[in-house]
Symmetry: C2
DNA sequence: TAGATTGTTAATCGATTAACAATC
DNA sequence: TAGATTGTTAATCGATTAACAATC
């Protein structure tokens, strides 16, 4: 609710915030009005002081002895993560993964809505997947520009990723959620979030082997 | 190739190694025999010194002026990530996401093979998805124990995640790849790798909003 | 009031980056 | 040889953790 320019929040903190949101929502459903750091920390497996520091960055203020008001803290986190600034997105690649992503129920919660999918495969074009129509990739630029879409999702193999990123950037996209293993080259004003499943799997395997 | 107990490698480094592997393979395909840190760094967008430090941890040794032998460095990274210790895994949850994961071509590269899927939905049981049969969840313990499976993949919603984790742990699983938003409680000797898509999406959205 | 919890300030820890000597 | 690149040692940076006073 205050209008000072927000300080950029570190990535580690940003990754923890959705966890707190989860916990707070559950505590709210259970009928609670307040939650302490100790309580949240125990549920998510972090230290109380870390929860406190993270919440502080969202602007949440707690009461000694009582904890944080659940309702207002939820709002603080949502605002920090931008869940209230609704965004529209396009998906490129209507294969297995793309299809699964379209069915992903978490988008809405984050304030994002996929409004169109694109592919080059004629067998896929024209299909309706979870309410989203698949168009030929040639229609991408026009649609993205016209509707001022800000987010593009790349669910394609390595070899098609960079040229798709270039296409999205030229259409005015500001954020790319990249499910390919490619390291995308984009201008500074475009944010890329990598979601390379091989990386994550490699980390797991190297730890248990 | 040496047998000293390996020092645990930090998570940031582990996450970068697959990227180097990617680059090295492409350079190899292009006919190169050596690669310098400078070259690798430019491709992945890191600093040369970071590449050097990371490669050092895999046991890779370079030659001044020449760089690193691509073949041996690939082997070093693969060994570090454990790509050569083949693992078998089971998947729990044959919905959208589970289905997409079964079609994911990256598993094999990491030395992992999903040998069975489980679900509770009778419409899914018995189906064959990308060569993997879907069984009723009741068969999980027996199969995992008998075949000494070490990795379990949870592709289920929040509410089913913890009880599935408990089941996997009781069957002797050592690593869980968790696609749910739940914070799983597991014993210390079990590794959990979280792949909560909402978290990643939240980070992206908070950066562009 | 007493005590639990917050918020702030300081200490620690680990990862990244810089500097530079060794070397092919 | 000269110069590029490695590998090592030191400096910096940022995030986590600890300590503790303020407070409801």
């Amino acid at each position: 609710m205050n209008n000072t320019t927000p300080i950029a929040i570190s990535e580690p903190t940003l990754k923890r915030l959705p966890k707190y949101l989860n916990v707070l929502e559950r505590l709210k459903e259970a009928g609670n009005k307040y939650a302490s750091c100790t309580e949240i920390a125990k549920t998510v497996g972090f230290l109380p002081i870390q929860v406190r520091k993270d919440l502080h960055q969202t602007g949440a203020v707690g009461k000694p002895k009582v904890g944080y008001t659940i309702d207002s803290t939820i709002k603080n986190i949502e605002n920090t993560l931008g869940y209230n600034n609704k965004s529209e997105a396009v998906l490129v690649g209507a294969g297995n993964l793309g299809n699964a992503l379209l069915g992903f129920p978490g988008f809405e919660r984050c304030g994002m809505k996929v409004i169109a999918a694109f592919d080059t495969d004629n067998n896929k074009i024209g299909k309706n997947l979870y309410g989203v129509t698949v168009f030929h990739i040639d229609k991408l630029i026009n649609l993205v520009e016209r509707l001022h879409i800000k987010v593009g999702i790349i669910a394609l193999p390595y070899k098609d990723a960079q040229k798709t990123a270039d296409l999205l950037v030229s259409a005015g996209i500001k954020g790319i959620w990249n499910f390919s293993s490619a390291t995308l080259k984009v201008p500074d004003n475009v944010t890329v979030q990598n979601e390379d499943l091989s990386v994550s799997l490699s980390v797991l395997l190297s730890k248990i082997r």
